[in-house]
């Protein structure tokens, strides 16, 4: 592949993310990877539901007493908005507008960082209350499910930072367009998983 081919918005293909053979492979492979990730999170959700509020005698921590919806609501809004901004970024990517794409991706990153900071605050708060990983089967399942999601967000942020910095000087080409596109797929996936966590863990924990 020749990285020196210069494109204009007119010559830029309609689907740059699948314009080459390597790109097609990455595109399909990444979708399949997300399929595997779905099963991975499904296993975590199933375990969480089986162990929800399952604590030893005398243990006080339950979903109703622990979770506070306002904080989680703010986290949800941050992550949902970051998904929207990543859509804007991909819109600009398809129009060969590199600067705008980078800008919207940076905004996506900051929103993700805000989400992650609140999650760290949340976990820290629980741990100070005494609800640690080893507190009960419920706590282990909670931290593993929500923590695995948080780890995905953190890895996504590292990936995004590397993408933005690595390509800052050279702009868009058919080699990195796929990388940007698969990142946005990953980011949407993380968002969808969070919607389920918000519903199953927090909403159903407090209301259900």
């Amino acid at each position: 592949m020749d990285l020196n081919t210069k494109f204009t918005p007119q010559s830029w293909p309609d689907h740059p993310e699948t314009a080459t053979m390597e790109a097609k492979n990455k595109f399909v492979g990444f979708w399949l990877f997300l399929g595997g990730e779905t099963v991975l999170f499904a296993t975590l959700f199933a375990t969480y539901l089986a162990l929800k509020n399952s604590v030893p005698d005398g243990n006080e921590f339950r979903t109703e007493t622990l979770f506070e919806l306002p904080l989680v609501f703010v986290m949800t809004m941050l992550l949902l908005t970051s998904s929207l901004t990543s859509v804007y970024a991909m819109y600009h990517m398809k129009n060969y507008n590199f600067k705008q794409m980078q800008l919207w991706l940076a905004i996506t990153g900051f929103l993700g960082l805000g989400f992650l900071a609140l999650e760290v605050y949340e976990f820290n708060h629980y741990i100070h209350l005494g609800f640690t990983f080893s507190n009960s089967a419920f706590s282990s399942a909670f931290y593993t499910l929500v923590g695995t999601h948080g780890l995905h967000v953190a890895l996504g942020l590292v990936w995004l930072t590397l993408l933005i910095l690595r390509n800052a000087k050279r702009g868009l080409n058919l080699y990195n367009a796929t990388k940007y596109y698969t990142f946005s797929l990953y980011w949407h996936f993380i968002d969808v998983v969070w919607v389920f966590i918000f519903t199953v863990v927090y909403l159903m924990g407090v209301v259900g």
């Binding site: 592949m1 990285l3 053979m21 097609k24 492979n25 399909v28 492979g29 399949l32 990877f33 399929g35 595997g36 990730e37 099963v39 991975l40 296993t43 975590l44 375990t47 089986a50 162990l51 399952s54 604590v55 030893p56 243990n59 990983f133 080893s134 507190n135 009960s136 089967a137 419920f138 706590s139 282990s140 399942a141 593993t144 590292v158 990936w159 590397l162 993408l163 690595r166 080699y175 990388k179």
Partner: protein
């Protein structure tokens, strides 16, 4: 262009050769690496099996201690499933599937290499337990209450070793899926794919959906043992049955991941050596997909005696028996393929013919165990041991041995001795039935599995003795195969494109072994068994779909090796963190090292290189 120069160049020094194998992303070389790695662990698992059989040779034997026996059965099962059977099949998938679909490599050559190193280092990690601490001793299923209670680091080796190897398997699965979806040559429609490619495709889909649960299950086990988790500890609100569910949601599809490629191998062999098109090709494809789908619906038949209740047991019993239908379709299609065929009794064909009755016996006992009330009698007895060895050895191992003989000339360019091959077959085949047939009856007589010895006077002595003699015969067969490999390699008599003379699929249309770019021109596939069609029309080779053009090939890389090394180091840190203060820094260092290599991979452009038209013409001429 250095890579091109190397691959057509003269003799290389040891260092250069080693570097070449450590950095290779060529699917054919990775296939060979898988065969070497899987073969090594197969011998290791075989030695463990021999020690088990020697212990059971006579009643009240004290050849090994009870504790060591537990380690032996655990390591035998784990090694054979994860480190021998699967990698050996991956070896053939890697070497053959791209050739069968007319591709120049797999979709992700870098990840292919990473997958291999993950498997190898995971297996190494697991087996270092023999030397460093104690080997895992809770059975290959490592049921939670038992594995949590196990002292020492044995189970930690199991958890971390399988985690690393399992991640490699998942990568290989995705890689094969994308390869088959995206990289088929022009004309290679889904319904023209050879059965081995089809079964690889379906097995890879099973890997994609079955391995993530294993990953999670092992994480739970790791957390409970090493990081203060409480998933399986009922005193903390945990539930030990969760492990069983997760393990079998993975574990049952796993047996189809093993057997489907075996079905594919035999489908190729039957049709080549009966000189007939595979009977009922589309029914075969449909049966493969159906078996793969049903494989996810039956996990609880491993847990009939847990007490899930009659409704759950009934549903899973019916689903289990339903799998016999597509499997039966396959058996009859193979029989009808041989029917009226022009049969050549080669070594691969002997294995294929031996496979049918052996596997049917394993299948029949499987349906028997599917009847939940009967399973209450059979559970945890030698009947179960007999059953799964009939399907795994009678199905998968026979297929691996058959494929070794069948594809050896394509992979190495030499032909294994047919005479020694047949000796291997007869020793192995007779030994196999001697070992396991009588174990059905031992089970019915009440002999429990996983117990290190038995008392005299229960009528079990003779059958156990015969069983051990059978195991020795299998070992002799394996040794003959190893001798065969050494002798063949030493003689080094080169063979042509189509050494069996009746090859039907694309891999037989190109040189043995193929050049590193496989096809000088991308082939045009003209139908099912396209090479057979060409030969019928008097053509030598395949019809090209393109003129000779520059070929784009991937670069080799050492990064996969180091990426895995980091995780390998981190594994020791995680495990010894509990006893030693250096554990945590080592864990952090290992993970940081792996993330660094991942960042390098992400930031560094890897665009591959081109082999020019002229170079291809020169190399193709050099061969004729």
């Amino acid at each position: 262009m250095t890579t091109v120069a190397n691959s057509v160049g003269q003799k290389k020094g040891f260092g250069a050769t080693l570097w070449d194998w450590l950095t290779t992303v060529d699917h054919k070389k990775i296939g060979i690496l898988y065969l070497i790695g899987g073969g090594f662990f197969f011998v290791l698992g075989g030695i463990e099996a021999m020690l088990i059989r020697l212990q059971l040779l006579v009643p009240n034997n004290d050849f090994v201690s009870a504790g060591f026996y537990n380690e032996l059965i655990t390591m035998h099962g784990t090694t054979m499933i994860f480190l021998a059977a699967m990698p050996l099949l991956f070896g053939f998938m890697n070497a053959i599937v791209p050739l069968q679909i007319g591709a120049r490599d797999v979709a992700f050559p870098f990840i292919n290499s990473l997958g291999f190193w993950m498997f190898f280092f995971g297996g190494l990690f697991l087996n270092l337990s023999w030397f460093l601490d104690a080997a895992p001793d809770a059975g290959w299923t490592s049921y939670a209450s038992l594995s949590i209670a196990s002292t020492g680091h044995g189970i930690d080796f199991y958890a971390i070793g399988l985690q690393i190897a399992g991640a490699g398997t998942l990568m290989a699965g995705i890689n094969f899926l994308v390869t088959i979806i995206n990289m088929r040559a022009p004309g290679m429609t889904y319904m023209r794919m050879p059965l081995f490619t089809w079964t690889t495709f379906v097995a890879s889909a099973l890997i994609l959906f079955a391995f993530p649960p294993l990953t999670i299950g092992i994480f739970f086990l790791t957390f409970d043992r090493m990081f203060g988790g409480n998933f399986f500890d009922h005193t903390m609100g945990g539930n030990t049955i969760i492990w069983e569910h997760i393990f079998w949601i993975f574990g049952h599809p796993e047996v189809y991941i093993l057997i489907l490629p075996a079905f594919g191998i035999f489908s190729e062999i039957f049709s080549v050596f009966a000189r007939k098109r595979l009977f009922g090709y589309s029914a075969m494809v449909f049966a493969t997909v159906l078996i793969g789908f049903l494989g996810f619906m039956v996990w609880a038949h491993h847990m009939f005696t847990v007490g899930l209740g009659p409704t759950a047991n009934a549903i899973f019993a019916v689903a289990t028996m339903a799998i016999a239908v597509p499997t039966g379709v396959k058996i009859f299609n193979w029989l009808l393929t041989i029917w009226g065929g022009n049969i050549t009794m080669t070594t691969p064909m002997l294995y294929a013919l031996g496979f049918i009755p052996s596997f049917v016996m394993g299948g029949v006992t499987g349906v028997q165990q599917g009847a939940a009330p009967l399973d209450y009698q059979l559970h945890d007895s030698y009947f179960i041991v007999a059953h799964f060895h009939y399907v795994i050895v009678g199905g998968v191992v026979l297929a691996i041995l058959a494929a070794t003989h069948y594809w050896w000339p394509k992979m190495f360019g030499t032909m294994l001795s047919e005479k020694l091959g047949k000796i291997t077959f007869w020793f192995f085949f007779i030994g196999f039935h001697m070992t396991f047939f009588l174990q059905h009856f031992l089970g019915l007589m009440g002999m429990p599995r996983r117990v290190w010895t038995y008392m005299d006077g229960q009528g079990w002595n003779l059958f156990n003795l015969i069983s051990t003699i059978g195991a020795v015969l299998m070992a002799i067969g394996t040794i003959v195969l190893l001798i065969n490999i050494i002798v063949t390699t030493a003689k080094n008599v080169r063979v042509g494109n189509d050494p069996w003379e009746d090859g039907r699929t694309l891999e037989w249309a190109i040189p043995s072994p193929p050049p590193f770019y496989n096809f000088a021109q991308t082939p045009l596939v003209r139908g099912l068994d396209t090479y057979w069609i060409e030969k019928q029309e008097g053509h030598n080779g395949y019809t090209a779909a393109e003129p000779v053009t520059d070929i784009h090939m991937p670069n080799g890389s050492i990064i996969p090796f180091f990426m895995t090394l980091g995780i390998f180091i981190a594994g020791f840190g995680a495990m010894y963190r509990v006893d030693h203060s250096w554990g945590l820094p080592v864990l952090v260092f290992g993970l940081a090292f792996t993330f660094l290599t991942m960042a390098i991979r992400s930031v560094k452009d890897d665009l591959g290189f081109y082999v020019t038209k002229d170079q291809i013409r020169r190399m193709e001429r050099g061969r004729d």
